[in-house]
Symmetry: C2
C-alpha cells in the first residue's frame, strides 16, 4: 500500500507497540525505565478495561510509528481532553510528515469527541520536537510542574504513614 | 458526624463540585478559565461515559474539599496510574489534615487498582502546596514541560491546515 496510513491498533499489535515504546525510550535516554511487558500491555490496552488507545502509522505497508493516548479531564472546561502519552516515528521514516498525520488524526478525534484540548509532555532538551510542536500552535505550560509519587513513597502514603 | 469523612461523589454533588472548582480557580488566579457548567459536569462525570472520579471530604458533616482524578497510562510501566486533576480544601478547613487524607485515599486506590504512579501538576508559585507535596515524597518532573493545543490552533490542526 503506497503512502501513509493511520489505523487503530488491535491486540495483535502488542509486540509492535512494545518494540516502538522501547525505541522511543531509547531516543529519550530513558530505557532503564521501561519495565512494560506484552502481557501488561495486552491486559491494559485490549482487555476488560482499556486505559489508552493506540494509533499505528504505516508507510508503504511497513510500521513507521505510533501514538498512544487517553482521555484526561478539565474541571475548568467541564469536559474531557486528549492526552498524548507517546508519539514516535521511526528514524528512517522521519521527514515524511508522519508525526503530523498522527497529530491531525488526534485533533480530529478531539473534535469528534468534543474535547477541549490536546496535551502532552516534552523533554526540555528535545528541541527538534519542541520546534515542530510550536509550529503547530502548541503552547508550553511554563508556570506548571508535574509532581509524581511512586514506589515506596506511594506505598508509605497508602499506609497512611 | 464528627471528624473527617471521605466519600465518593454522586450526581447530586454536581453543584457542590462546581462551586469547589470555582473556589480552586480563584485560589489559582485562573477564574477566567472556568467555563464549566453543571450540565457538562453531570454528563461527563456521572453520565454514560465517566471521564473522571470525584472524592468529597466532609468535616463534621460540612463539605470541606474535594479531589477529582482519572486514570492515565504509562507505556514505560505498561500499566495505568492515577492523575489528580484537582485537589482543594476550603480555607476554613485547612491545617486539619484533610488534603493529606484525600491523598492517602488516592494512594490506596492506586494500590488497589495496581497503578504505578500518582501524578498531578502544581503551579510554580504555589510554595505552600509544593512544600506539602515534597514532604509526602513527591518528586518534581523538572525535565519535562507540558504542551497544549486548544481553540483555533486545535481546529486548524483538525482541518489538516
Amino acid at each position: 500500500m503506497a503512502g501513509t496510513r493511520i489505523r487503530e491498533a488491535t491486540g495483535e499489535d502488542v509486540p509492535l507497540i512494545l518494540s516502538l515504546v522501547r525505541e522511543l525510550a531509547e531516543y529519550e535516554r530513558l530505557s532503564d525505565e521501561v519495565v512494560a511487558t506484552e502481557e501488561g500491555l495486552r491486559e491494559n490496552l485490549f482487555g476488560g478495561r482499556r486505559y489508552a488507545e493506540v494509533l499505528i502509522a504505516e508507510h508503504n505497508g511497513a510500521p513507521a510509528g505510533f501514538a498512544l493516548f487517553f482521555h484526561n479531564f478539565s474541571t475548568f472546561l467541564g469536559k474531557p481532553g486528549i492526552y498524548l502519552e507517546d508519539l514516535y516515528v521511526k528514524p528512517e521514516f522521519r521527514g515524511a510528515g508522519i508525526g503530523r498525520k498522527l497529530l491531525v488524526r488526534l485533533a480530529r478525534l478531539a473534535r469528534e469527541r468534543d474535547c477541549g484540548r490536546l496535551e502532552w509532555w516534552v523533554l526540555d532538551w528535545n528541541e527538534p520536537s519542541i520546534g515542530f510542536y510550536r509550529k503547530l500552535g502548541a503552547v508550553p505550560m511554563d508556570d506548571w510542574t508535574v509532581y509524581r509519587i511512586s514506589g515506596t513513597a506511594l506505598e508509605d502514603l497508602a499506609s497512611g504513614a
